[in-house]
Symmetry: C2
Subunit: 270 residues, 2 copies
Amino acid sequence: MTHNELTQQIFSKQSYLCVGLDTDPRKIPHSLQNEPDPVFAFNRQIIDATADLAVAYKPNIAFYEAQGPRGWESLQKTLDYIPANCFTIADAKRGDIGNTSGLYARTFFDPSAAGLDFDSVTVAPYMGHDSVTPFLEYAGKWVILLALTSNPGSADFQRQPINEQELFEVVIETAKTWAGPDQLMFVVGATQADELSRIRELAPDHFLLVPGVGAQGGSLADVSKRGLTPNGGLLVNASRSILYASGGTDFAEKARAEAQALQQEMASYL
Amino acid sequence: MTHNELTQQIFSKQSYLCVGLDTDPRKIPHSLQNEPDPVFAFNRQIIDATADLAVAYKPNIAFYEAQGPRGWESLQKTLDYIPANCFTIADAKRGDIGNTSGLYARTFFDPSAAGLDFDSVTVAPYMGHDSVTPFLEYAGKWVILLALTSNPGSADFQRQPINEQELFEVVIETAKTWAGPDQLMFVVGATQADELSRIRELAPDHFLLVPGVGAQGGSLADVSKRGLTPNGGLLVNASRSILYASGGTDFAEKARAEAQALQQEMASYL
């Protein structure tokens, strides 16, 4: 999906909601436990209930890997089920030396490899340019690079002072020389709203993927005020607050209500 | 495997060789292509040919993931086949917020999850303490944290100046407060031999996993002179130079010769 197409989806759906598919088999309602693939059965109902409200879906790869080969099959089926007008993100936080990053890129971008054809993958910057550029060699695919994350440990290294900046700012400025806003986004945690304005100055045209609204406590209003651009420019992710809005048979209905509340708030900011 | 057991293996085998199982299906000899699982058939012969010369094996997870569910099955079989007296490393370079890192830890450490029971996993430090500590909650398991890697991009961020240090030094000093040398190692590229002495001063008792000898051009002599300790303290990895020493039916024999040359050189430094 191109930058323009994503912007069009945002204005057409009046939403910049990304639904994080952090699907934990231990949290799936009992009613689905006898399905041949409970994870996919759950995801399918979540997608059905939210696809008109969300512009993106973000399977968190750890949740699928932790199931071994079966988990990868659930992931393949889930990805195939996501409607074509939704942007897809493999939240994998990969990054390795060039030839290995090339294989991670194949894994998530080349359907003839692992049966997956994501639009984008999250990448960790620590290993530098040759750990990131192999993902950029796939035309039409995106890198979403970790900049300033939503977790407590983000302060340990990302906020270390380097000359007059902090590490996350050096990451953003350096990565901008590797790719433009048509192929590169940055991860900025919703718990880091104070820094969002600085990041928006550094990267005025890049989409920001913002996790941490909901279960992690970030404010949608603060994020939207600081991060929105005339092109949208934001994807705000919610995972647990939507997926596990109810643990009963009404989980999909409650997930929709939760997604709808976020979408309506987003519409008011657009 | 404990720190003491690993040291014993090093002195008993007179080797600190780690064989990197970066097994690329496209590089496997034709003679194995009709096996039901060519990747496992190849790995099994490599392991048979090198198990008395190597103290560790390091499957590079990207190579297995790029095959989808089938690749995870090859990985499970390979790990099960590695002899118990060899240390096993999942070279995965994972790292995410706490609950997600917890799932990556389950994936690689809890055999009831994905069928894998590695001794250790490589972890990227960018997201800080809560991205690393979930791996340390598994007694007897190890984190191998990226510090100064072997690739060209390592200069982009790892060598940024922070106060009187560079980022990789801040990573090492900070991570030492999270775990001792019985559960924490650091990745230091063999191409960074000049910095190895500084790293050895910062982490005198921690094992260092050193990739980059062989195909990437690092010198075993330089690394050994600067990195060895009275307890060994080093695992030096070679992947492509061993696995693909020959592309013919004699691949295992040539792999053994390559491993033996490294082991004999290592014995002379011990």
